[in-house]
């Protein structure tokens, strides 16, 4: 089978590609080819795999060509992140809404041309939830909590969920929208996501570098490790429509964490000196966005698919440490830990 991963050069996309290549099969079929579409080139290890080809450039421009190409399955992860979308409204609308519409219309054109409906997994986000003046947000947002997004990013993700549900109802695609929790710990540099600090306050201290936490230690938030997130995307792809239980977006499993407890886990894994590298300095822009985010999530539909949250936040930190060592970048990435 031939798969398309949009956002395939990014952190989650590349990890998904590696996991799929290692599995060799998806939904019982042998994976022959994976196309990674992204604004950036894929990491070298993926580019070196004979089954992988890369398309580098804006997705919106790539979609026209997709009318002439057949895929058995699509993971649609490409997205501008929340902070960017708040700063640049048009970027968010183009990258998150217009690109998704163009992708869906390319798949619809193929289906209407006689091809079978392509299976598609969309990475939606827990950012679809928020408190509106008319509806308080529950402590744990559930699959069927009323979404009231408080960012353009969240609105765009929710709109895409509903487009995918309708294209699926019409038989144009076989689409599934999975709401990702905040993926932690991301390697590399901070990005434009308002949630970037949730990784930063672990990653930077482990590297021996000071990190600024822009929100209070009492902020609570639903998290997932990279490996658990990828496992969720694959399970949602492989599920039967009956097992999915509906066309609306579903929550992936969350480990609901308090920032202070995340830092306790950091101390438990890496020691007091590492934890002491986190400094609290409130950033009103970030804190304002995060204040409207869910403080926790439940995931009943994902649970029925056999998906569970990570065991503990210490496990999530250890996964990051193990990954850094496996990649061979431990010397810099884990300088604080090894000091």
């Amino acid at each position: 089978m031939k798969l398309l991963i949009t956002g395939g050069g990014g952190f989650v996309g590349a990890r998904l590609a590696r996991t799929l290549l290692a599995r060799e099969t998806l939904a019982g079929r042998r994976i022959e080819a994976i196309v990674l579409a992204d604004q950036v080139a894929p990491p070298a290890d993926l580019a070196a795999d004979a089954r992988v080809s890369a398309r580098v450039g804006p997705l919106l421009e790539q979609c026209a060509a997709l009318h002439d190409e057949s895929f058995d399955g699509v993971f649609h992860l490409a997205s501008a992140v929340s902070g960017e979308c708040e700063l640049d409204f048009e970027l968010g609308m183009r990258s998150n809404l217009d690109s998704t519409r163009a992708l869906l219309d390319a798949l619809r054109a193929r289906q209407q041309g006689g091809a079978p409906a392509t299976r598609l997994v969309f990475s939606s986000s827990v950012a679809v939830f928020g408190p509106d003046a008319s509806v308080p947000m529950p402590k744990l947002v559930a699959d069927d909590t009323l979404p009231a997004p408080q960012t353009s990013y969240g609105v765009q993700k929710l709109i895409c969920e509903h487009l995918i549900a309708d294209y699926t109802r019409k038989g144009f695609i076989d689409g599934r929208a999975a709401r990702l929790m905040t993926v932690t710990v991301r390697p590399g540099k901070p990005n434009g996501a308002a949630s970037s600090f949730f990784s930063g306050i672990i990653r930077e201290p482990l590297a021996g570098v000071e990190s600024i936490c822009p929100v209070s230690e009492d902020v609570r938030h639903p998290m997932s490790s990279p490996s658990n997130t990828v496992a969720g995307l694959i399970a949602v792809y492989e599920a039967s429509r009956e097992a999915l239980g509906g066309r609306l977006g579903l929550n992936l499993p969350a480990l609901n964490m308090r920032v202070g407890d995340m830092l306790d886990a950091l101390e438990q894994v890496a020691g007091k000196k590492v934890r002491a590298l986190v400094r609290f300095e409130r950033d009103e822009r970030i804190a304002g966005i995060v204040a409207n985010w869910p403080t926790g999530a439940s995931a009943a539909r994902a649970d029925k698919l056999g998906l569970k949250p990570d065991g503990s936040f210490a496990d999530i930190i250890r996964q990051y440490i193990d990954d850094s060592r496996a990649r061979g970048d431990a010397a810099t990435a884990l300088k604080g830990l090894d000091a």
Copy 2:
């Protein structure tokens, strides 16, 4: 003040225009001009009013010109109807989604050019609600019921609600989305709306013509008279943001009726012979769409604005009779009643 009514040549739009012209003011300001944008020319009485000007043509094409024109307020009612959107997917996406986006972007361009944010009322629909496999639909859908639209029309309306909420949050417009109940009794011919028969089973018998009811008499549905619907749109326009209580779509008041009870009301107002002109003949396409529609609605936020449902379905029928007589088309429209 200068107002734009999209869909201003249609039944609700024209009635809204007449009501506004008769009031002479809106939100405490004198109405100097009303522009009616529609695919069809407005009725003669409106066209004859010196305050009215008409723009005839597709809204999507008209929106480019709106970048250079200032409006104090907009009622955005233009829409392809539910039955059309199920039959022609691209028509619905263009008429209901792309046109709304183009309108919002024209208003955004003006606001970003220094103009104040334009107040806009959007006619959303009770069709945003439906039963998904993962969530049963309550007997009465409320303002905060999870929307799970089961038609492309409903999806497009819901997406527009969320776009309007986000453009409002960003300060580009001052938008409000009001969910219309099924407006009954519409005059004229049946249209492409799957809900068209809710008017037809009253209107045709009153005209002495047989009418086919495509669903069982036990079907229940939330209704509103034309005058109560227009009153709701005006109240939502005039409400302060605080009184509106949030940016999400709100339900307008509904009279929740069973088809059999509608016909009892018809008999009460117009007699047994008129009622006997309704024949039940199931239409699977219509019945399938209607089966996924709400069986009733509540409207707590509208109630707080002082909006109430119609008193009874007999009142709604009498409103139609009075309107037909006032228009002078009673001779044909009420042939069954007068026979």
